[in-house]
Amino acid sequence: MTRVLGVGLLSGWGEGVAALPADARGAAGARRVVPAATPALSGERFRRATRECLLGVAAVDAALRDSGLERAAVAGPRTALVYATAAAYGASNRAFVVSESASAEQRGGLYFPYTAPSSVPAEVAIEYGLTGGYVILVGGPVAGVDALWQASTLLAAGRADLALVLAVETFDECEELWSRGRWTTPRPLVETAACAVLAGDGRELGYGAAVGASTLETLASRRAGETLACAPLVALALARAAGTPRARVTGTWRGRSAQIALAT
C-alpha cells in the first residue's frame, strides 16, 4: 500500500497543522483571501522565481523534514514529482497580461516561462535534483486526489521508489477575479503549499469516485478553509497529526468527486 512518510504544510495560517485555527471561517473574519507569507529563499537562482515557486520549494523542504529524509534521498530519477494546482498560475498570468498596458518602468521583469503551471514543479525539480516521473495536474481538490493516485501509480509500476505530491494555491493577486467566480464559497480562500512524501508498493489505493465527503475533508475545510488542490494534502497532514493509521481523503470540484486511501 502507498505510505505517507511525511507532509509539509505552509498556509496563510502559518506552518504545519498546529498553526491551523479551529474554525477558519471565524478566524478569517471579513477577509476573502488569507495570503501566505512568501518564504525567504536566498540565492541568485531564485531571482526570477515567482511567489508560488518559492512556496513550492519551501513546502518540499518542510515535507522532507517531516519525513526525516535528506535532500540526497530524493535526488535523481527514482523520485517522481506530481504537482497539482487549480489557481497558482493566476498571479503570473495576470502579471503578464497587465504588463502589456504598463509603462516600461512599471512592466517589471516576469520571464514568460513562469506563466506556465510547470514553472512551480520545475523550480522544485531543479532545487532538489528530481529527474524521475513528472506529472502536472490542474484542478481543485479532485486534482489533489488524482495527484496522490498518479504518484501511487508510478510507485506501483516500479517507476519510482519515492514520490513527492506537491500542491500550491495562491489567490491574493487575483482576489478580484475570485470574487466574481461563483465557485467562491463562504469559506475563506487560504493560500497554501503542501507536499506529501509517498513510498510503498502503490497497491490497494481505493481510488475512484467518492460517495460523500470524508471526515478528513470536512475537517480540513473547517480548519484550513478553501485550499483547493491542497485540500487532500491538508487532510493527510491532519490524519498524521491525529495518529490515524489509514486515511481516506476525498475531494469535490465542479460537480465531480474523487477519493483515495493511503497509509499514514
Binding site: P117, S118, A125, G133, V138
Partner: protein
C-alpha cells in the same frame, strides 16, 4: 510483442481540429501532400510583434453534435470530439467515460477577457481546467475529468494518464488528447523569448532558426484491449515522463531527462530500441531542440538511429503546444495504417549535428512500432510508444 504488455491500451479512434483541416481525413491528406498550414495571423493584433505568422485555423465549422462554445479552446476541443464521434461512438456507461486533456495554456485567453472586466463567466473560464469540463459535458461523460499541463508535452502526458485510468479500472473508455489556441498572450511570450523564426520552420535542417506556433485540438478514444472493438487505429504500448531538473525553460543540454522518458516508455512497452520502426520527433525547429533530440535518439536507438525514419510535423502546422504530442501519436498510427510517413516540411539541407533519417517529402513505409517524443517548459519530457493496427 506480448499482448499482455503491461499497461497497453487500444486506441480505437481519433478526431482533430487543425490548421490543415478540421477532420482527420483532411488533416492526414494535407500532411501527406505537403500542404502548408502556416499563414499570417488575423484573429488578433500582431503588428507590434517580431513575428506575426503561425498555424491559425481561419474558420471554425458548426459541429454535428451540439453547438460551438464561445471559448475558442473549448470550441477546438468540441470540433475534435465531433470528428471523433463521427467515426467512433462512445458506447459505455457515461459514469465510466473519462476525459483527460492536456494543455499548455488552458483558458488563458478567457483570462485576458476576465482581466478586462468582462463578467464572472470569463473568470471561471480562465481556469485552465475549464475546457476539459466543457468537453466532458458535451460528451455526456460523467467519469473522471483530468486536465494535464506539462506544457508542450501535455498531449503525451494526457494519453499516459488516460492509459493509467484504464489500467486502474477507473474508467472503461477514455477520451484523451490535447489542445491549445493561438492567442496574443502566447504570441507575445514566445516573441519576447525570440524563439519564433521570421523564416520558414525547418526541423532538423542546417538552416533552422526557430519555431512558429499553431493551434489545434486532438483527441483519441482509448479502451482496454479486451473491451475494444475489432476496428481500431492501434495501441498505446507504453508511456513515460520525466523532469529535467535543470532549467525552467531550456531543455537539458545533454537531453538526460528526455532519454530517461524514452527508455521508460520502451520498458513499459516491453520492447527495446531495436523494435522502433519510426520516430515522430518533437522537432520544433529551434537550433537547440533538434540537436538535443538527435543526440538522445542516437543514444537510445544506438547504431540503428541513422536508419530509422524520423519526422516532425511542426513545419507544416506550427507547434500546436498541448495538442502537438497527441497529433503526432495519431500521425504515427495513420502512417502505419496507410503505409506513408509524412515528410518534414521545411527540411532541405542536412545538418551534421542532426544526422538522422529525415526527409522533406512523404515516403513509403509502414511502421509497426513508433516512438513519439515531447518536451516542454518546466523541464517536462514525455515519450509514447504506439503500435499500428496494420
Amino acid at each position: 510483442m506480448s499482448s499482455r504488455t503491461r499497461g497497453a491500451v487500444t486506441i480505437v479512434g481519433a478526431g482533430v481540429a487543425t490548421p490543415l483541416g478540421l477532420d482527420l481525413d483532411s488533416f492526414w491528406t494535407a500532411l501527406c501532400t505537403g500542404v502548408d498550414g502556416i499563414s499570417g495571423i488575423e484573429r488578433f493584433r500582431v503588428d507590434d510583434l517580431r513575428v506575426g505568422r503561425g498555424g491559425e485555423i481561419k474558420k471554425l465549422r458548426a459541429p454535428r453534435h451540439g453547438r460551438l462554445p464561445r471559448c475558442r479552446a473549448s470550441a477546438l476541443l468540441t470540433l475534435a470530439a465531433d470528428d471523433l464521434r463521427t467515426r467512433t461512438p462512445l458506447t459505455a456507461d457515461p459514469a465510466r467515460v473519462a476525459v483527460v486533456v492536456g494543455t499548455a495554456l488552458g483558458g488563458v485567453e478567457e483570462g485576458e477577457r476576465a482581466l478586462a472586466g468582462r463578467g464572472a463567466r470569463a473568470a471561471a473560464a480562465a481556469l485552465y481546467d475549464s475546457p476539459a469540463h466543457t468537453l466532458a459535458r458535451a460528451l455526456g461523460a460523467r467519469g473522471p475529468v483530468v486536465t494535464v499541463s506539462t506544457a508542450c508535452a501535455s498531449g503525451a502526458t494526457a494519453l499516459g494518464v488516460g492509459a493509467d485510468l484504464l489500467a486502474a479500472d477507473a474508467a472503461d473508455l477514455v477520451v484523451a488528447g490535447g489542445y491549445d489556441v493561438l492567442c496574443r498572450f502566447v504570441m507575445r511570450g514566445f516573441d519576447a523569448l525570440r524563439s519564433l523564426t521570421r523564416e520558414r520552420v525547418r526541423p532538423f535542417d542546417r538552416r533552422r532558426s526557430g519555431l512558429l506556433l499553431g493551434e489545434a485540438a486532438a483527441l483519441v478514444l482509448m479502451a482496454r484491449d479486451a473491451d475494444a472493438p475489432r476496428v481500431r487505429l492501434g495501441r498505446l504500448l507504453g508511456h513515460a515522463s520525466s523532469s529535467d531538473g535543470s532549467h525552467v525553460a531550456a531543455p537539458d543540454p545533454e537531453g538526460r531527462g528526455l532519454a530517461h522518458a524514452v527508455r521508460g516508455a520502451l520498458t513499459a512497452a516491453g520492447v527495446g530500441g531495436d523494435a522502433v520502426d519510426f520516430v515522430s520527433a518533437h522537432g520544433t525547429g529551434t537550433p537547440l531542440n533538434d540537436k538535443i533530440e538527435t543526440a538522445v535518439l542516437r543514444r537510445v536507438l544506438g547504431a540503428r538511429a541513422a536508419a530509422v525514419p524520423v519526422n516532425s510535423i511542426k513545419g507544416a502546422l506550427g507547434h500546436t503546444m498541448g495538442a502537438a504530442a497527441t497529433l503526432e501519436a495519431i500521425m504515427c498510427l495513420l502512417a502505419s495504417r496507410d503505409g506513408v510517413v509524412p515528410g518534414t516540411a521545411g527540411y532541405e539541407e542536412a545538418d551534421p549535428a542532426c544526422d538522422l533519417d529525415v526527409s522533406g517529402a512523404a515516403r513509403a513505409a509502414r511502421p509497426r512500432v513508433s516512438l513519439s517524443t515531447s518536451l516542454g517548459f518546466g523541464g517536462c519530457n514525455a515519450a509514447l510508444v504506439v503500435e499500428g493496427s496494420a
